[in-house]
Amino acid sequence: MVAPDFEQSLVGAIPHLRAFARSFANDPARADDLVQETLVKAWNSRESFTPGTNFRAWLFTILRNVYFSQHRKLRREVDDPDEQYQNSLAVPPEQYGYLDLADFRTALSALPSDQREALVLVGAEGFSYEEAAEICGCAVGTIKSRVNRARNRLIELLGDPELKGTGHANPQAANSGLVKDTARG
């Protein structure tokens, strides 16, 4: 018997799984493959979910496991394409301080993957340090230090003088412009 609640929760979590998967796989198609495999795993192991606990955290843990089991296989065959991609994307010094969404993403993708993951879980998904630690299977202090290092590295990559100015002006107009830019590129 399928619990309708489980199915509904799963559907509701898909957008978040897709966003989280992008922090592992730069290629959106690869990220979606990762989500599909996660959905199959989650469905098949739904009995192991404890009601009342954080459903999204449970799903993110599964996605992570799927990714790392695939990635280990991949690593043996080719020389870690993700890392190479990241290295090729360092922000050139003349662009320091100029912050649009594309630049931010470039800097984010240049972070070491464990730091990016911690930053995304805490800063974007809003998990507590404790929840993020559980998802990543590491100590709370490790998550805290990864988040701190991620922030410092981002500041280094982006340069800070212009960052101060990004909060004011007209955020809605700025957002719609950025969305269009991204869709075009």
Partner: protein
């Protein structure tokens, strides 16, 4: 034996202005801007329409189960 120093008044003035910022509030401003950018970037993907293939996949999973049990 004096070493001539390059004089760059404009750059030095600018650097001093940056240095004069209270470190804590500058840091907060930067962290705040970074946090907003991170959420903006992430939420853009969250708001994307979910491709049909995901819902089809869930339907398949559901039906394969019903038929194997029925």
């Amino acid at each position: 034996m004096t070493t001539p120093k390059p004089v760059q008044p404009a750059n030095i003035a600018a650097q001093e202005a940056v240095d004069a910022e209270p470190a804590a509030s500058l840091d907060e401003a930067i962290q705040g801007a970074l946090g907003r950018k991170l959420r903006e970037s992430y939420d853009e993907v969250v708001r994307e329409q979910v491709p049909d293939k995901f819902l089809k996949l869930l339907d398949q999973l559901k039906h394969s189960e019903t038929s194997s049990k029925g």
